[in-house]
């Protein structure tokens, strides 16, 4: 039996989140663990490991200090360094600024998904995680 893929999905929009998780389960793709916020996701990430993550990043701060909150990604990457198992992470963002892309490259983000977010694109991304995971496991 193949190992079930456990994916972390962090997305505030309930209907999109629920549609992705329910469809992934019904199609036997993976077990998608839903988090509506970064805080919830951090708690979940401390309790179990995931094979991949799809994370909606939001801007925090104001004016010149306005930036995307990448704290969850940093925490996930830090946890990886302990386990030695890098996991694919995709990001949902309103727009891809050069600054954001540079920050994401530093954090080895495998995909950036821009609005409008569609369940199909998220599910295809999650399905792609399976290929990446399999490729890593091959000698």
């Amino acid at each position: 039996m193949p190992e079930t893929m456990h994916i972390l999905l962090v997305e505030p929009e309930t209907l999109l989140r629920r549609t992705v998780s329910m469809t992934a389960r019904s199609l036997g793709m993976s077990q998608v663990h839903e988090a509506a916020s970064t805080d919830v996701a951090l708690r979940m990430a401390r309790q179990r490991t995931f094979h991949g993550a799809v994370i909606a990043v939001e801007c925090v701060g104001s004016g010149a200090g306005r930036r995307y909150d990448l704290g969850l990604i940093d925490e996930l990457r830090a946890a990886e360094s302990e386990t030695g198992r890098p996991m694919p992470i995709a990001i949902l963002a309103d727009q891809a600024t050069p600054t954001l892309l540079a920050e994401l490259r530093e954090r080895r983000i495998s995909r950036v998904i821009l609005k409008p977010f569609r369940a199909k694109v998220l599910l295809e991304t999650i399905a792609g995680f399976g290929g990446q995971k399999g490729a890593r496991n091959e000698p």
Binding site: L16, T23, R118
Partner: protein
């Protein structure tokens, strides 16, 4: 045009539908948001949550149409509720069941139709969550899965309605 046959469990089906006390009620956000989400997700101009009554199909939620019901005799959803699977009509003009249907030949101009039947626990199918496009198209396996999920979410809301009415 082929009028859909009446389901074998029509009396039970209508009893379950009427017990919901949902026909002719105002629009509700919980259904509207699913219809809007489906229209965006599938990039279709028309999405309906239909309930097939004795002589009509009534729309609990709609995107892209102004009318709130049509006759059951012209309803594509009346065909969709005959089976559990999602009914996909890639091009209604090429389908002998629907080619001369006024919903196909008229202003609505249906070409593509995908109807996911709203199956309740008691085995009756009350209506559909359906996608309509004015050009031919198909759905792949992933899209069928997503439509099935959105249908399940509509059914959950209907079951909640039934529970609220004391019919759970």
């Amino acid at each position: 045009m082929q009028v859909a046959p009446t389901p074998d469990n029509e009396a039970d089906r209508l009893a379950a539908l009427h017990a919901l006390l949902i026909l002719d009620t105002p629009p509700e956000q919980r259904f509207d948001k699913i219809a809007r989400f489906a229209a965006s997700e599938f990039d279709v101009p028309v999405v309906l949550i239909t309930l097939v009554d004795a002589e009509r199909q009534w729309f609990k939620a709609s995107v892209g149409v102004e009318i709130c019901e049509t006759g059951r005799d012209v309803s594509l959803c009346s065909h969709a509720i005959l089976h559990d699977d999602i009914m996909v009509v890639p091009d209604a003009r090429l389908d002998p069941r629907f080619a001369d249907n006024p919903l196909v030949t008229g202003d609505l101009g249906i070409r593509f139709y995908a109807g996911a039947p709203l199956s309740m626990a008691c085995g009756v199918r009350l209506g559909t969550l359906c996608l309509i496009d004015r050009q031919p198209r198909t759905l792949d396996a992933l899209e069928l899965g997503i439509l099935g999920t959105l249908r399940d979410l509509v059914v959950m809301e209907l079951k909640g309605q039934a529970a609220g009415n004391g019919d759970a």
